[in-house]
Amino acid sequence: MKKSSILGIVVIAIAIAVIISTYSSTSTYGSFNEAKETRSELHVVGKLNKQKELFYEPTKDANYFSFYMKDNKGSDCKVVYTGTKPEDFERSEQIVLTGKMVGNEFHASSILMKCPSKYTQDKLETKEYKATQASI
């Protein structure tokens, strides 16, 4: 057999291996209900539930942040994240969580937020200038 054909076979084999290993390390997007049924990590897309409590108290624990999120199917779940509250969190439009269910809490290993894009929701900030009052 020619060397180039051997090389060709090796290349094809590695390419297939790459695709399989890529596929096996990807996960799927799902909902909280699906997360309850599986033990593996899942991506959940949803919105911050602004009616419920958003808890971050750095003086008690700088690495504990919890909030409630509504997933795209409409179910609501408490989310716990070990870390600080991401900047601008309240203003997020959409959240993508990666993590899994532990009991009734979803433990997120990462939070990716989508903030209002400059191009879709620009609001002009008009500022009024007021003289500051003199105080003695």
Binding site: S25, P58, T59, T126
Partner: protein, 821 residues
Amino acid sequence: MDIDFKGEHLLPGQIGQFFLVLSFGASLISFLSYYFATTDKVSTTAASWQKIGRVGYYLNFVALLGIGVCLFYIIRNHYFEYHYVWAYTSRSLPARYIISAFWNGQEGGFILWLFWQGVLGIFLINKAGSWERPVMTVVALSQVVLATMVLGVEIFHVRLGSSPFLLLRNDMEGPIFSNPNYLSFIKDGQGMVPSLQNYWMIIHPPTLFLGFAAMVVPFAYATAGLWQKRLTEWVQPAISYALFACMILGTGVVMGSFWAYESLNFGGFWAWDPVENASIFAWITMVAALHVLIVFKNTGHSYFTATFLVMISFVLTWYSSFLNRSGILGDTSVHSFTDLGMFWQLVIGILIFLAITVWLLVSRWKQMPITKKDEETYSREFWMFVGAIFLGLSCFHLIVVTSIPVWNAIFHTNIAPPADAARMRHYNVIQSSFVFVITILTAFTQFLKYKKTDVTRFFITTAAYLVFAAFITALIVYATGLYKLNFVFVLVMWGSVYSVIANGKILADALKGQFKLAGSAVGHIGFGLLMVGALISAGTSSVISVNNTGEAFSAEFAKEQNPRENILVYRNQPLKMGDYMVTYLGDSLSAPDHFYKVNYKEMDAAGKVKDDFTLYPKAQVNKGALAASPDTKHYLFHDLYTHITMTNSISMTEDAGTEADEHKTEDDSKAYDAPIAHEVAVGDTIPYREGYIVVKKLNKGVKVKNIPLNPTDISVGAELEIVAHGKTYTAEPVYMIKGKGVFDFAKKVEDAGLKLRFSKILPDKNKVEITVYQQPESQKKYIVMKAIKFPYINFFWAGTIIMVVGFLLSIFRRNKELKTV
């Protein structure tokens, strides 16, 4: 409907828009003329076509400069009626970032790319000689396609491109824009994102875009060679340009990685973020192409692979541009992507160049000089070819994974790419496997001769160096703790060390005699060192600010998620963190930045201070959110990072709250815990939560500001010394009887969080009463910070520089060859 808007400066925008259209028109003329110059059989008409082509190209370049001047002018003068100026700058933006505002938006990026391609085109007009006509046809075509991206003109109800001279009122809807006086309400722009306010933003994009732009030249040569049936001639000149493109793009990418490392935006120097991956697609394939081009030049083998790799590199440049700009990566990257509504335009851009590639490769397939003879196993070329194939595979893997959102869009699937830790693991392990093979190849291939080698001698040298490298690797792996990680990283370390040593030997030989081999040896040493640095730094970086003091919200939670990487440090309250004692000393403001003074003291076993330094991580309040950037202590062998993740010492409104504090009303008792009164005599000590207070002495007749005292009035000051966390402060509250009224003047010690009142004099007991107000725990100023140690990163930077030197040496060598041929 037409409103006469006041205060707008429309002229510079109109001139700019004119130049945009001119640059498009001129490049189109240049492209067509060069095309006819190439295809016209009559030499005189062809020559005049060539002249028009040149004029068109120069005109296009002049127009590009004009665009630049206009854009700079509107940014410099803060004309917020332009969307680009309003979106990316503000009045408070420091002057040095005006230049980086230029390429903050995607339009600016395209203009930068156009500019560099313009420069390269002019270089080719003067240097390419007989290649000028076909090569410039391709370059001008690329210029035409790029120009459409910034055209901003509507043709048949389709907006082509996005212009940087778009007016704010045309881009956005709002009732405000029906007011002819609307500009007087827009006082300021949105401003630049704080993380972009970095000097790397000035230098990194131009370098990167020069690298992207340079990719067109080898592509143009390959296209020209196939098109004009000068099938083998194009290879020699293309090598130098390919070397240049790789050198610049590589430098640009590493600059970006340096920036990411410094600002921690991506959590390190490389995070396999889609943006980062996309930027190296073309680099990897072009490096592979370079090796195969040399193989072809020396042996005549592998023509198809060489041509294919050169051409696909340029297509991939466009593909990465599509990934970054079309908004398709949306959920998968920390980069903020904005979609300018040019999705299909970008797709068409890729398809044009892909079509050229496929068509030429297919139609010239029969004429290609493809050898039937098998290659020598013990030749350098064969293994260079193998190495290039592995580079291609590594790039293939990157493309497959990075493009998952694209597969989802095409096949309507719902696959989520691996995120965060999983992503890092996935890429690191798979890419390391490729890198292991590649580094080993870069080493032993150098021991082989071009064409044929003495086999026994080769095996002995190779084996000897492999064993020696294994020995050194064992030392490094043991010393750095790399062995605790996946075994594949140890293998990569072995390969990299082997590559450095073997190429070092080649370099030593080259210095003695054959200097022309130095370039490749130096380049490979650089790559090896870069990998060594990357492996140790990324593999063994450690978070120092590990914190296990937080309240356990649930035991299970604490058990499972242990890396608690943020610690809370109260002001002036030292905290032990790893080997260090950290103290948050205070803040300083230099608008718009807020700096935090964080002192580090490293103690040795005997408790003596070994190292003492202060870092100034900073934060900026940007539209109600905290944007922090870290400060770093650089050592030769490691870097120590401090990053503020949260604080209560900065108010989230735009104006920092420090000044407001000064004018607070007197009734601030709510800001303190319930007061505690102490009856004390001189010399007594009052303990409190954070330290103690000593009553030094009582001073009679103390004056308070400008209150006049009558002889009958009594005024006593209590000189107090406060000791808190190893620091001493003094304060003197005053007790006063004036006329019939009794007053007392409290004193605050902000740094100790205290307010002290001299509330009573008890003459019968010979004592006084001091009332202590303590700041509640939650009111105390604090920062939440993260400290990370990255070791041996300097190998990474040094490796990069050495690699660039290697590229440079190779360019010199190839250029010399070009002249002698």
